[in-house]
Amino acid sequence: MKKLHLQAIDGNSTGYIGLLALLGAFVLAALGSMYYMEHNGHWVTGMDNQVVWGMPHVFAVFLIVAASGALNVASISSVFNKKIYKPLAPLSTLVALALLLGGLMILVLDLGRPDRLIVAMTYYNFKSIFAWNMILYNGFFVIVGIYAWFMLDRTMKQYSRYAGIAAFVWRLALTTGTGSIFGFLVARTAYDMAMMAPMFIIMSFSFGLAFFILVLLAAYKGTGRPLGDVIVNRLRSLLGIFAIAVLYFVFVYHISNLYATEHHGFEAFMLLGENGGSTYSNIFWFGQILVGSLIPIAMIYGPGVANCRKTLAAACVLIIFGGMAQLYTIIIGGQAYPLDIFPGYDILESSFNDGLVSQYSASAAEIMLGLGGVAMSIIVIALGIKVLGFLPASLADSEADPHHKA
């Protein structure tokens, strides 16, 4: 492999400026949505006292999970010493930081009192997984930032492997923390399972890599820089393995629930659409499993698509769509299914919808807030590759492949 040459993009084209303007409009719309929700109160959203986390949280958790996954490419290079990924490691850190920023932006702007963020930064209840996560998120910015600095600064380069290992361990902790937000909730049938943490880690591998590949393809197409098949096909097969691994975890999650009688009600709701769960079972089977997993896996491993960039890009889009569907079924579906406050009893009357499935539907403001977070992430990436030299000048096979033979 030749010497790595990173080069900032010019960022003067109409397309680039148009992209930033479009993304900026989404961010403005998100801020407007936030103002609308905060001014009127959350009753104008689809959220209520049963589904307390809605569409903004689906977007936010997706971005936070994808953030740690986007760091994979750097980790494979630094921790596992795979040289072919080395040129992409700085870009990987940038995408990771940008996704986390977008996700946190949504979370904070959805708070009932976002003006009190300083309280959350100064009062810590160390038994709260949320409090841990605040430390993990802030720490991620610091550690990944240092990691990127060490990789790019010639005088610090010798320490970059150690920073990479620290970032790898930290990102595993971060996604463990995100999964445990749900995994440690004893009260709700859909959660309360330790495997939420490893499942979120494997989800992060898949969603983060899908997002990273899209950024890579777009950046190289947009700048006209050479991008060889060797690196792209490596990432393609890695994505396929991760997508299959996510399916495996989903299978184990449901098979565990199906074994326990107390969870049969929830599984009938989620898998068969019984007891008012048809929306969620449709999203599960068609969104998450078929369109979001099986079809993209077929697009990755199918015949005749080995070097097709468009097919790969489409597969990445579908995996991201499937990831959103998965988080929708976990976050919204898990809350919509009623709490089992009185096991063995039917609820005949309640003013608070006890025992009833919640019919959540996301408001436009919630969706705009979520899209604004995604737009913010992409803005940071676009600005990052313009201001800093994160993007290799060439990833042609002759440059990127350590085993390339001319």
Binding site: W53, Y123, V186
Partner: protein, 251 residues
């Protein structure tokens, strides 16, 4: 007035007095045990709460009348909670639920509110410590440091917490509340600290149901402790091991 008339008068006065005292005693024993309990526990203002007491409630579902919502009305009046006719987003600190045993068809009516757990999941998950438990067992939300993340609502097994989805117009001095924060039953801590009884318990007594008893679970001579020793009382979702301060009879 002759001597025999005087004697009759004197007998009548004594009889009236006896009947009056007996009626008072009978009323005290039957309709308002909770009220009498609270004459002894007033805490001087400024004195710290101690763990010498653990406040709790016992709800006898056999006495809880189906269709009666006196406790709900009293709670919401006491704490300034107003409905916007949007039950899914309105605050509900206490609610009435009617349940039926799936096997026996036995129907039970009961009030449901914060169960004031010894190990409250809402307190565990709260990132800022806004959800907290006083040493006397009352679980509260400090609405000055609540950031409105709603994680406590995700964690509560009893759906006992509400988010203030709209501006709070009707504010009472002892109950700071505001849009964007989470609320739940305070066990009328403002009354309890002054030696009073929660509004729901008082209303239940006034409605002559007497289904709710409030008192100190650590005081063996309290009515609630005596009732629990004699007749027992269940926790809702006892399997979670939260050791609730609110106990029920008849489920």
């Amino acid at each position: 007035m002759n001597k025999s008339t005087m004697n009759n008068e004197s007998v009548n006065i004594e009889r009236r007095s006896f009947v009056g005292k007996s009626a008072t005693a009978a009323a005290a024993l039957t309709i308002a045990p909770g009220v009498f309990l609270n004459q002894v526990h007033a805490k001087p203002a400024g004195e710290a709460v101690t763990d010498a007491k653990r406040w709790g409630m016992l709800i006898d579902t056999a006495k809880c009348a189906s269709g009666c919502t006196s406790c709900v009305t009293a709670c919401h009046e006491e704490n300034g909670i107003e409905s916007h006719n949007r039950p899914l987003t309105d605050q509900q600190w206490i609610r009435k639920i009617k349940i039926k045993d799936k096997l026996t068809d036995h129907v039970v009516s009961l009030p449901m509110m914060c169960q004031h757990c010894e190990k409250p999941p809402c307190v565990d998950v709260c990132p800022t410590g806004a959800s907290f438990k006083r040493v006397d067992g009352i679980v509260l939300v400090d609405r000055h440091i609540c950031i409105g993340c709603r994680y406590c609502m995700m964690a509560c097994p009893y759906k006992a917490r509400s988010f203030a989805h709209e501006a709070v117009d009707n504010k009472v001095d002892y109950q700071p509340r505001g849009k964007g924060t989470v609320e739940s039953c305070t066990m009328c801590v403002h009354r309890v600290d002054e030696g009073g009884t929660p509004a729901c318990v008082e209303a239940c007594s006034e409605a002559e149901h007497g289904a709710m008893i409030f008192g100190d679970l650590k005081d063996p001579s309290s009515e609630i402790s005596k009732q629990l020793v004699e007749h027992g009382g269940q926790q809702i979702r006892a399997d979670l091991g939260l050791n609730t301060g609110v106990r029920y009879r008849g489920i």
